[in-house]
């Protein structure tokens, strides 16, 4: 195939696939990002779909998108503005026009730009003109007509034929980015091994799109992104929910325990329950409970019975689990609670991302009820923090609450696969069966953790429960005992600080402005930080993954900066928490509560303004 078009070598490119929620955009985007990752690009993706499974066809509310960001160097975010937009209908233009880079490429299915669809998307005439995109690189392709023509000899029904439109579009994008069709073709052969005609139709549509792009030669410029210089090793693509599930399974294996998950399906956390339920090959016991409360209560029962117990949920479900988390705190049983945050309050924005469950995670329970709270910050480090959450729960005999979010859960990245032997040891605190009588709330001096006596072991029979106990495990209403136990439970969680890493500052250790982030907004803040640095601004960046307890060197880090700017997707919950824990500093805030991640510019512009104010 000759390539007459100009080839532009780019550091990074953002491509957005957008169409009706029935158009298969998620699959299209995933196939493209897998192909890019196999080629060796660093990749970050973000699916963005409506809560309704099938919103009205052609409506802006029904637009489903999938963004792929690929680069020659490290890629930390799915990217704000796209270089290429693939719009399967006018509504996709409406939803994305503002997010296309000036002069970028827009490929659209001309056949779908009917008067009716144009009107449904809220346009009167030509969407391209109304959005003032005429000067962009616009490629109007009659995709529906072309797939019908390409597949006419297969004898398929018209509906099936039109379902391959996304593959035609994908074929065009492969040509545009000079990528091999091989991975996608193999995918279809496998997926439709029992329906070879469907596999064939998709492959023909894919190739037709590829050749069409070549033929029209209108697709200039052709982008070329060289492989990213990434560390040696074996890689795979993984999303945050899968990484979370695997982190737990890895921790169970390391600790010599069976994993037990008790959960109730809830968007966007369900993927963890699904993945763990599929892992019966590794002995995972999964219990899909009747509700959120039963989810955590079965997990507490399993923890009592000696399993690595997990429950997963999102914000509304965390609210329902509150009382039972208190029970786990009181009984001092190891359990990990995952909250994949979404837009709240109440049902809120179930498919959108937010970081507004922080205070609920820290404090949303009755009584003095401390738990360890940690947060993952990239799709792949969900594995590390799930693993570490399990380790802390088992070694410190405490509930651990792991915060991720919708963006991490659904976003994918290439992941350098670790070997099990490289992972930190996990030593559950089993009670010594020779040390009788067993005293349920006797503690080790260092961590203040009690021992774990598993039913089935002779001689260790004991009773625990939600009522306040004395050290012997007997119910006690003594005023001094209650205060003592409250303080011990708090101190036990506080001492976790001795075993977590210090904060690491990116950039200078002192200066004008320290960007502070926590959890899932990491990728956006670090990208903004790097760009600011490259533009000559005096900024540094620090990211928190350990929230309760906070790392031991917070004060040391903070006091070397003139301004501390806390960036988070809520109205300032982490900033308020820091104000309470470290009152001596002044905290500035950059917040966003729109159900979508920060853009790099959100952060950069505000920082530049602050730096210029002096």
């Amino acid at each position: 195939m000759g390539r007459k078009a100009d080839v532009i070598v780019r550091e990074e490119v953002v491509i957005r696939f957008s169409g009706d929620s029935g158009d298969g955009m998620q699959l299209t985007g995933t196939l493209f990002s897998d192909t890019a990752a196999l080629f060796g690009n660093d990749v970050s993706t973000f699916p963005d779909y409506p809560a309704e499974i099938r919103a009205p066809q052609g409506s802006v509310g029904g637009v489903s998108g999938f963004t792929v960001h690929l680069g020659h160097s490290e890629v930390n975010t799915p990217g704000d503005f796209s270089d290429v937009l693939i719009a399967m209908n006018p509504a996709a233009i409406r939803a994305n026009a503002a997010w296309v880079k000036e002069g970028g490429t827009v490929i659209y299915d001309q056949d779908n730009f009917t008067e009716k669809n144009i009107e449904k998307a809220g346009y009167k005439t030509d969407p391209i003109k109304e959005e003032k995109l005429e000067s962009y690189n616009i490629i109007a392709a009659p995709i529906s007509t072309l797939v019908k023509e390409a597949l006419k000899d297969l004898g398929l029904d018209p509906k099936t034929v039109l379902r391959t439109k996304n593959m035609f579009a994908l074929g065009m994008v492969y040509w545009l980015f000079d990528r091999s069709l091989n991975y996608t073709e193999v995918f279809f052969d496998k997926k439709f091994s029992h329906k070879p005609s469907i596999a064939e139709a998709n492959k023909i549509a894919l190739r037709a799109g590829y050749y069409y792009a070549e033929t029209i030669e209108a697709l200039t410029p052709v982008y070329k992104i060289l492989p990213a210089p990434i560390a040696k090793g074996t890689y795979r693509n993984i999303n945050g929910n899968q990484a979370t599930a695997w982190g737990f399974i890895a921790a169970a294996e390391k600790a010599g325990l069976k994993a037990f998950i008790g959960s109730y399906p809830i968007t966007p956390a369900t993927g963890i329950l699904e993945e763990m339920s599929a892992r019966k090959d590794l002995g995972v016991i999964s219990f899909q409970a009747e509700d959120e409360i039963a989810g955590i209560c079965t997990a507490i029962g399993a923890s009592f019975a000696g399993k690595l117990a997990i429950t997963t949920t999102s914000g509304p479900g965390l609210a329902l689990k509150s009382e039972a988390i208190g029970l786990a705190v009181m009984t001092e049983l190891p359990i990990v609670i995952v909250d994949v945050q979404r837009g709240g309050p109440s049902t809120g924005l179930p498919t959108k991302t937010e970081q507004a469950d922080l205070l609920q995670a820290l404090y949303g329970r009755n009584g003095e009820c401390p738990v360890v709270v940690i947060a993952a910050s990239t799709p792949t480090d969900c594995f590390d923090y799930a693993y570490d959450a399990a380790r802390m729960a088992l070694e410190h005999m405490t509930p651990v609450l792991l915060l991720t979010d919708s963006y991490l859960a659904n976003g994918t990245e290439p992941w350098k696969i670790p070997a099990m032997k490289e992972l930190r040891e996990i030593k559950p605190r089993f009670a010594n069966k020779d040390e009788l009588p067993f005293i349920p709330y006797k503690r080790d001096e260092e961590r203040l953790a009690r021992s774990w006596a598993i039913p089935g072991v002779p001689g260790l029979q004991h009773r625990i429960g939600g009522l306040e106990k004395n050290t012997l495990g007997n119910v006690s209403y003594l005023p001094e005992n209650h205060e003592k136990m409250v303080k011990i439970r708090a101190e036990k969680v506080a001492r976790v600080v001795n075993e977590i890493p210090d904060l690491e500052v990116q950039g200078d250790k002192k200066g004008e402005l320290l960007l502070v982030g926590w959890g899932g907004s990491y990728g956006f803040i670090i990208t903004a930080f790097r760009e600011l640095l490259a533009e000559g601004y005096n900024v540094s960046f620090v990211n928190f993954n350990y929230i309760n307890p906070l790392p031991g060197n917070v004060k040391e880090v903070f006091r070397s900066f003139k301004r501390i700017v806390v960036c988070e997707l809520n109205l300032g919950q982490f900033a308020d928490y820091l104000r309470m824990k470290h009152q001596e500093f002044t905290y500035h805030q950059i917040n966003k509560v729109q159900g979508i991640p920060f853009t790099i510019n959100d952060i950069k512009e505000k920082c530049i303004k602050m730096l210029e104010e002096k």
């Binding site: 090793g233 074996t234 795979r236 019966k280 090959d281 016991i285 507490i300 009773r463 429960g465 939600g466």
Partner: protein
């Protein structure tokens, strides 16, 4: 759970904790019957776990020298389901009351029964909230005057057996707290039955609802107002063993043997193993004065348990699985090397 040759006595299952129920409370008798039953069942105490929710009866685990978990209100079925599913080797007992199991914990109760988790679920039914000092419960008779229904309740009560059968329950029995011989036998059968065994205990709250069951279970009247059902036996009751139950059309009917040509042969023979719950359902719902109240095992149908099915499924997947450890998992599917 395997049975051992070691002999146990009721005392072996007593913990060192002082029992704190009110003097005269029906719970004392239940505790004693359960300890006797355990001695006979023969499962060693380290393989037994008692799980409870909240309420007077939920203090029960503290008085047993077994593993014990005193949970939170309504959630005992869920906690116990977790314990049993995590380790099917354990003998798991759930202690609950009418408020704990049927009000705040109603959802967990019906789902545990539906799944047929192998639990022995003892439901202490005193038709009142005792621990909160006398409010009506979901089993309080319509019109009952309590602190929160000073003019009488206006709501229909639940029938425990009806709920169990409606939730596809496979084992339901009813006993009276003070009838230690009958109770002990029922607890033994409940423990031997594989699946959720629900035992409704007509239990007396001596403070807030004293004598609520006396109309039926009082010493003077109980022979005529209750019937103790026995598998394979005709349904006979009465002080003189002269009354029985027949099927009259689609309904049960009380008859007198010897009257209108009725003989013992006309009576229904009790069958706890009949999967179709029609007659068992009617038996569970018999109310005085139209009928005697049924005691004994009403339904005991074999079926697969949730916990054993979960583990069997895991084993069968593992036999054929290509992924044997986490390293295999991490390297499965599409991967690529960067050299």
């Amino acid at each position: 759970m395997e049975e051992t040759a070691v002999k146990f006595t009721a005392k072996d299952f007593k913990s060192d904790q002082e029992v704190r129920w009110c003097p005269g409370c029906g719970d004392h008798a239940v505790l004693s019957s359960v300890q006797r039953a355990l001695a006979e069942i023969g499962v060693p105490k380290e393989k037994i776990a008692f799980v409870s929710g909240i309420g007077c009866s939920s203090r029960f685990p503290y008085y047993m020298d077994t593993y014990g978990f005193h949970g939170i209100h309504g959630r005992a079925s869920a906690i116990a389901s977790g314990v049993k599913t995590a380790n099917p080797e354990l003998s798991v007992w759930q202690i609950t009351g009418d408020g704990d199991a049927l009000a705040i914990g109603g959802n967990h109760f019906i789902h545990a029964v539906r799944r047929n988790v192998d639990l022995n679920l003892l439901l202490f039914n005193n038709e009142i909230y005792g621990l909160t000092k006398g409010q009506f419960s979901p089993t309080s008779g319509k019109g009952l005057v309590t602190k929160t229904s000073p003019f009488g309740t206006v709501e229909e009560p639940f029938s425990v057996g009806e709920l169990v059968i409606g939730a596809k329950g496979k084992f339901f029995a009813r006993t009276v707290d003070a009838n230690i011989a009958l109770s002990t036998q029922i607890y033994i059968e409940a423990a031997r039955h594989k699946g959720t065994s629900v035992v409704e205990i007509l239990q007396n709250c001596v403070i807030f609802n004293d004598g609520i069951h006396d109309e039926v279970t009082g010493k003077e009247v109980r022979d005529d107002r209750t019937i103790i059902l026995k598998h394979g036996q005709p349904m006979i009751f009465g002080k003189n063993n002269d009354k029985g139950l027949i099927l009259d059309g689609l309904k049960l009917k009380v008859v007198k043997i010897g009257e209108n040509g009725i003989t013992e042969k006309d009576l229904i023979v009790h069958d706890v193993t009949e999967p179709n719950p029609g007659i068992q359902y009617m038996l569970a719902n018999m109310r005085y004065p139209e009928y005697p109240v049924a005691l004994g095992i009403i339904r005991a149908v074999e079926g697969l348990t949730y916990d054993s099915s979960v583990h069997k499924q895991i084993e069968s997947v593992q036999e054929k699985a290509k992924i044997k450890c986490v390293d295999d998992l991490l390297l499965s599917g599409s991967t690529w090397n960067v050299d």
